[in-house]
Symmetry: C2
Subunit: 138 residues, 2 copies
DNA sequence: GAGTATTTTTGTAATGATTTCAAAAACGAA
DNA sequence: TTCGTTTTTGAAATCATTACAAAAATACTC
C-alpha cells in the first residue's frame, strides 16, 4: 500500500484508508474495473466500505488526474490506474477492455481541438470482438 | 426527407416515418443531440412519437453504421449523423460537442488493436473548456 | 382488395447506475 | 482533550435506458 499512498500524495490527495485501497486496487489490477467491481472486492478488506465512498473517491482521483475514466459501452464507467498515453479496445462479447499501444503517442496531443482553451482529458477507444471470443464461436 | 429516406435504404434500413425523421434530424443538425433532444424536437412533428421509438431507432441506425454514438461525459449518449472519420471535443462547461478534424485520418485504423478480430467502432474524444466559455468567465 | 403474417411503434413499468444529502465517524490543529 | 474540518456512510431520490406486451402499420398472399 506504500506505493498507492505516496502516489496519492504526489497528486495532493489525502491518503485515507479508503482512497489508498481504491488507488492500490487500480494500480495492481489492470482490468479496467467498474465501480461495482472495485466495491465488491474492497468490501472484503474494509467491511464498512460504502459504494458512495467508491464513487466519491473515483471522482476525486479522476479530477486530480490520478486515474482515467473510460466510458465506452455507455452503460458502465470503467477506471484505469495506468495513465500513460494509450488507447483501449473493448470486446462487446466478453466485455473485457484491453490496453492498446499507439504507434505515435504524440498524435492525440497534436490534434488537440483549435477552439479548446483547456483540455483535461483525451481518450481513444475501439469496440469490436477480440480474438479470444472470435475463436470460441467456431 | 428524400435524402434521409434514401440514406437509410442504402444501409438496408426500412424507412418508416419515425426512422426517416430521426435520420433527417441527425443529417441536418450537427449538434450531437441526445435521445431527449431528438425526441423533444420530433414530437412536435410526430405527436404520437414515443421515446422508446427514438431509442429503438437510434440503436438500429447505430448497428447498421448509419450514425455514430458518442459516450463522452458518462451521463448521456450523443448521436452524430456525420460518419466520416473525425474526433470530438466536449466542453464540460457548456456541454457542447465540437467536431475535430484529424491531421492524419489513417491514424485510428493504423492503430487497430492486434488482438481485435472485428472492429465495429472507434472514437477519439477530448474533454475540456472551449474558447467561448473560457472568454465568458473573464 | 380482403385476410393474414410480419414488422414497427407505443406506453407503461422495471432496472440499474449514479447522485443527493444529512448524520456519523475520522482526522488535524491548537 | 477539544474544536473545526474533512471524509465516510447509507438511505432515498434521480434519471437514462431497457423490457415487454398490446396496438398500429406495413408487407404478402390468394
Amino acid at each position: 500500500m506504500i506505493v498507492a499512498r505516496e502516489y496519492l500524495q504526489s497528486f495532493g490527495i489525502r491518503p485515507s484508508v479508503q482512497r489508498v485501497a481504491v488507488m492500490h486496487y487500480l494500480l495492481t489490477h489492470r482490468t479496467h474495473p467498474t465501480v461495482d467491481e472495485i466495491y465488491s472486492e474492497l468490501v472484503n478488506e474494509i467491511p464498512t466500505l460504502s459504494r458512495t465512498t467508491v464513487y466519491n473517491t473515483l471522482h476525486l482521483l479522476y479530477e486530480h488526474g490520478a486515474i482515467l475514466a473510460l466510458c465506452i459501452d455507455g452503460v458502465n464507467t470503467h477506471f484505469d490506474g495506468y495513465t500513460s498515453p494509450h488507447a483501449h479496445f473493448m470486446c462487446s462479447q466478453c466485455g473485457k477492455i484491453y490496453d492498446v499501444d499507439l504507434d505515435d503517442v504524440a498524435f492525440v496531443e497534436r490534434n488537440t481541438p483549435k477552439n479548446a482553451s483547456i483540455v483535461t482529458d483525451a481518450q481513444l477507444y475501439y469496440k469490436g470482438v477480440c480474438a479470444t471470443c472470435a475463436n470460441k464461436s467456431n
